[in-house]
């Protein structure tokens, strides 16, 4: 079964190459081979010249992990408290529900005023994007813990604080991880969109593909898209590995 997983990407590549060679795609769309060469140019020469792919990747990762880390550190405890305490949820939930539908990018102008063009504003909107799926899934996870487990803990002598730490937190972990995966996906999307609008230091994958567009270097543009996709995929894989470790009991 496993070998079939490569079938559709390989077929797509073959069709793409064939169409490009026959000229059916026009001058603007590069062939897979052009893209591969573009990838090499990005790493060796850089875009703009001297701004190498490695630097773009490093700065994008820095922004994403800063924003995502902030979201994680706030969203998980907040979600656990919301799932645990009814009055706390009643107090906080309306604010969450009002802010949640706002697309993170809508905050960008305000973020620029607050933090200036730089890591701060990027991290802010990435954190906003990742925050809500993590909070909501954490609340869901805590509420979904079997009430019998809470009762069992009580009859074994557990007080509220112990139940929170030893029953509700481990019991909601599967749902929290789901939130983390969704949040990571959104963080990555938000990052690239934010970088399209602008960066100060000249580094960032989103900024890189905008530069490629400005220079009409479509081979570099598609190569950039490829890099963005692969990194997003790897980030998700990383979370899955952590998930397997943490949820051995499932």
């Amino acid at each position: 079964m496993k070998k079939w997983k490569l079938a559709s990407p390989l077929a797509a590549l073959a069709v793409w190459q064939a169409l490009a060679v026959t000229g059916a795609l026009g001058r603007a769309t590069p062939s897979p081979w052009d893209v591969l060469k573009g990838l090499y140019d990005l790493a060796a020469t850089g875009l703009p010249r001297g701004y190498h792919l490695q630097g773009h990747v490093a700065y994008s990762l820095l922004r994403v992990f800063t924003g995502f880390g902030i979201a994680l550190v706030i969203a998980v405890p907040l979600g656990i408290l919301m799932g645990w305490s009814r009055w706390f949820e009643a107090a906080v939930d309306p604010l969450v529900e009002v802010v949640r539908p706002v697309p993170p990018l809508a905050w960008l102008p305000l973020a620029l005023v607050w933090f200036g063009l730089g890591l701060g504003s990027a991290a802010f909107i990435i954190a906003l994007g990742a925050f809500f799926p993590i909070v909501l899934n954490t609340v869901l996870g805590v509420k979904g813990v079997d009430p019998r487990l809470v009762e069992a803990a009580r009859t074994l002598g557990a007080r509220e604080g112990t139940i929170l730490r030893r029953v509700l937190v481990p019991g909601s972990t599967p749902s929290i991880i789901t939130g983390v995966r969704i949040g990571m996906g959104i963080a990555w999307m938000t990052l690239v969109a934010a970088e399209l609008i602008g960066v100060k230091n000249g580094y960032g994958l989103g900024y890189m593909i905008m530069t490629a567009r400005d220079l009409a270097r479509f081979d570099l543009l598609v190569a950039g898209i490829l890099v963005i996709g692969v990194i997003g995929f790897l980030a998700d894989r990383l979370i899955r590995i952590v998930e397997k470790r943490l949820l051995r009991w499932r």
Binding site: D146, R148, L149, E151, A152, A153, R154, T155, L156, G157, A158, T162, R166, V167, P170, G171, T173, L247, R248, W249, R250
Partner: protein
């Protein structure tokens, strides 16, 4: 200190729930009086849905009575406590903890060091015949094994009384019989006071030294049967069959009378 030498006394225990939709009061327990002597194996038997589980949850302190009281060693029960250990029908094992760490849960939260708790957990797993399964997660255990682990977990906090809520009801017939025999052995070995709730008269006659018959909802104690047959009991024994028939007939009459 104890009322009439009993470990556990229920005095005029009533419980009603208000139905959310209609706002009506649903009366579940209608004045239960009961005394449980230390060391006894008491079975509470009654039709499904009569409020047996509610009764046990009141004793455990997971629910508060509408009126009346539960006295443990003469003191009113105001909440759950490890001196009244509960065994649930659906096991309620922590799925993220191994068998051994389920058993050591109560010890860990009582401040016993992890190593010491682990050692004592192994001891209790031995008591319930689960040696060698310490590192398995609940999903890797069969129903009967899960219930053994759950019993070990409750025993580990050294409760004065074991409250068992239809603990064998979701097991297949063969495993259920084995678990009943196991419980009798365990009870003889540990001398624990056991309050065992079941809808099966057969199970009650097999286990109980005293059998408390409840009516249909709202539940009252209709009669208490003494059962002095020696353990282990034989289901084909004349006295066993006679008592089972007597209780069945009695409960059937009560249910019909109430309905």
């Amino acid at each position: 200190m104890r009322a009439g030498g009993s470990l556990l006394s229920l005095r005029g225990l009533r419980k009603s729930f208000s139905e959310q939709k209609s706002g009506r009061e649903l009366e579940v327990l209608d004045g239960i009086d009961l005394d449980v002597t230390e060391g006894a194996l008491t079975c509470i038997v009654g039709p499904s849905g009569c409020g047996k589980t509610t009764l046990l949850r009141l004793i455990a302190g997971l629910l508060a009575p509408t009126s009346g009281e539960v006295l443990f060693e003469g003191v009113p029960v105001e909440g759950p406590g490890p001196e009244r250990g509960m065994v649930f029908q659906e096991y309620a094992l922590f799925p993220w903890r191994t068998a051994a760490r389920n058993v050591s849960f109560g010890l860990e939260i009582a401040g016993v060091s992890r190593r010491e708790a682990r050692g004592r957990a192994d001891g209790y797993l031995r008591v319930v015949g689960m040696t060698g399964h310490d590192d398995l997660y609940p999903r890797e255990l069969s129903g009967g094994m899960k219930q053994r682990v759950a019993i070990a977990r409750t025993l580990a906090v050294e409760p004065a009384v074991l409250l068992m809520d239809e603990p064998f009801a979701s097991l297949d017939a063969q495993t259920r019989n084995a678990m009943q025999a196991f419980l009798v052995e365990l009870w003889e070995k540990t001398g624990k006071t056991v309050v065992f709730v079941t809808h099966s008269v057969d199970e009650a006659v097999y286990l109980g030294g005293e059998i408390v018959g409840l009516s249909g909802r709202p539940a009252r104690v209709v009669r208490t049967f003494a059962n002095a047959q020696p353990y282990p009991r034989n289901r084909t024994d004349g006295e066993f069959i006679r008592l089972r028939s007597e209780i069945l007939a009695y409960l059937a009459g009560e249910t019909a009378g109430a309905g």
